[in-house]
């Protein structure tokens, strides 16, 4: 129930479920539990303050907030790439002390090795784990196909567009078969058309892979379009402002969804919420 600590009771629009996790059967089994996370830089600047959060299993949850709200910091703490100043993160009940095999990270700047082919990059997580070459290349090829890059296995990153590079980053994270995928603004360095196509592909992958996705973005539309749950963070020190479950009907075509009243209302709702504390 930690997920519901900071829900703002004010806007009771029909589109926003106030206590969504209570309705969710998997709520009793959050895959990531964040407890009392505070992060201070240089002893004085507080990036995050007292974050309590449960990330439900098998869903796509978004951390949404203005730049400088510490959302990437929180994601990196969950990934084990940063140490919190206080508090703890548990994944599957085990305390996080560093990166682990059950989590995989997708980097904002792709973090691909320029000297390695798409295939080697995609299979790099497995290479580090000592998986034999044949096996890891088979898995790599599979996920390269899954992210829509079949035929580019032997290319180098500099021959690909930004969107394609990020697909390699996604394939690399999928290939290690982690339960939790942590995506740090994966589309921020990608142009708008590519971004939309990528979002649609990501939704398909979420449905297909049955993994937990935790996604950082500053785009409200993106958050509403993709997420099962949106965690809104306020600006410095980052705190959880409220949690929204958009519950968008995703059975229609992407264009239908983007014109859907429910979708548009939710975007509007979040925008109003954000404006309240931006001003």
């Amino acid at each position: 129930m930690g997920a519901l600590h900071r829900i703002d009771p004010a806007p009771a629009a029909a589109t926003i479920l106030q206590r969504p996790s209570a309705l969710d059967p998997s709520a009793g089994d959050p895959v990531v539990q964040v407890r009392g996370i505070t992060k201070r830089y240089g002893g004085s600047v507080e990036a995050l303050k007292d974050i309590d959060l449960d990330i439900p299993r098998g869903k796509l949850t978004t951390l949404l907030g203005p730049s400088g709200c510490g959302k990437t910091t929180l994601l990196k703490i969950i990934a084990g790439l940063l140490e919190p100043s206080s508090g703890e993160v548990r994944v599957n009940g085990r305390e996080v002390t560093g990166p682990g095999p059950e989590r995989a990270f997708v980097f904002q700047d792709f973090a691909l090795m320029p000297w390695a082919t798409v295939l080697r990059n995609a299979a790099f997580g497995l290479e580090l784990r000592g998986v034999p070459r044949r096996e890891r290349e088979d898995i790599g090829r599979h996920y390269i196909r899954e992210v829509g890059l079949a035929g580019f296995e032997e290319r180098y990153p500099h021959e690909l567009s930004g969107g394609m590079r990020q697909r390699v980053g996604l394939a690399r994270a999928l290939a290690v078969k982690a339960e939790v995928l942590l995506l740090d603004e994966p589309f921020s360095a990608v142009d708008e058309q590519t971004r939309r196509k990528f979002q649609e592909d990501l939704l398909r992958l979420v449905a297909q892979e049955k993994k937990t996705f935790l996604f950082v973005t500053h785009s409200i539309e993106e958050a509403v379009y993709l997420s099962d749950g949106i965690v809104m963070l306020s600006r410095r020190p980052g705190r959880i402002n409220r949690i929204i479950e958009p519950a968008i009907d995703r059975s229609g075509s992407p264009d239908e969804i983007r014109r859907d009243k429910h979708y548009l209302d939710t975007v509007e709702e979040i925008w109003h919420g954000l404006r309240d504390y931006v001003d």
Partner: protein
């Protein structure tokens, strides 16, 4: 490090590869690039010929005279023999500098402690005018091979080590975070991320180091005892055989340039395959 050894000691293998890639590159660009390069060399030789025939100075032979002297010196075996002598301290010194320099540089980049101890030494050595120190070397190590190897190392080592150090320090932090998040061991981090990412700058250092090594060996042969190419240059100057003197100088320049080209090829083939054909 080992590749450098091959590159300097065993020219034919890599050169073959270099030729193949050059052909491919030329084919990709419709031969235009190769044509321009050849034209540039032809223009240079033409200007040299004109300058030699004017003549600018009686001590400045024309290109054709130098080329004939080169052919004669190859035929009578004096040039190959000189190269065989010069190459000993050169290859030894360059290999020692490459192995020690790259290791020291990488270690300085990885460990603060090593940086504190070693970096100032290399920085001072790089700043020092080495030609002035070479007589000191002869006091300690005499006039033999050791002294000449040391002269090569003194010139080549600092630049190789300092480049390696800077390269490792400037490794892309995002790649390091990536390696960490996929749980690379410290060893994997060094071998699979740091060395490949640093290799362009490490190799830039190696190229500078090798060319400094050529300076070192010629300085040693001119200042310590006249042997090899240094001896040929000194001897032909003393008897006013200027064409032969220039042929010796040109041959060592050519050899140095070829060595550097081979080194570049080794880098792209073994460390940065993505740069092939680019």
């Amino acid at each position: 490090m080992k590749t450098t050894m091959d590159g300097v000691a065993a020219m034919p293998g890599p050169r073959h590869g270099a030729g193949g890639t050059l052909l491919r590159a030329a084919a990709a660009m419709g031969g235009g690039m190769l044509l321009w390069r050849l034209a540039s060399i032809a223009l240079f030789c033409g200007l040299w010929e004109v300058a030699g025939r004017v003549p600018i100075s009686p001590a400045f032979p024309s290109f054709s005279a130098t080329a004939i002297a080169f052919r004669d010196m190859m035929a009578d075996g004096s040039l190959p023999a000189a190269f065989a002598v010069t190459l000993q301290p050169l290859v030894l010194g360059v290999v020692i500098s490459a192995v020690l320099g790259v290791s020291a540089g990488v270690l300085m980049g990885l460990r603060r402690g090593v940086e504190w101890v070693a970096a100032p030494v290399f920085i001072v050595f790089q700043a020092a005018p080495m030609a002035a120190l070479i007589p000191l070397v002869t006091f300690v190590y005499g006039i033999g091979l050791t002294a000449k190897v040391l002269a090569v190392c003194m010139l080549a080592l600092p630049v190789i080590a300092l480049n390696g150090y800077k390269a490792v320090r400037n490794v892309n932090p995002s790649l390091l975070a990536m390696a960490r998040s996929f749980m690379a061991s410290p060893w994997q981090r060094v071998v699979k991320i740091i060395i490949p990412d640093a290799s362009p700058v490490i190799f830039a250092g190696l190229r500078l180091g090798v060319s400094a090594g050529f300076i070192g060996v010629i300085l040693a042969e001119l200042l310590i005892t006249p042997t090899g190419i240094g001896d040929l240059i000194t001897y032909h100057r003393s008897i006013a055989n200027y064409a032969e003197m220039y042929a010796s100088i040109a041959s060592i320049i050519l050899f140095s340039a070829l060595t550097l080209a081979v080194l570049q090829r080794i880098e792209t083939v073994f460390f940065r395959p993505e740069k092939q054909g680019a």
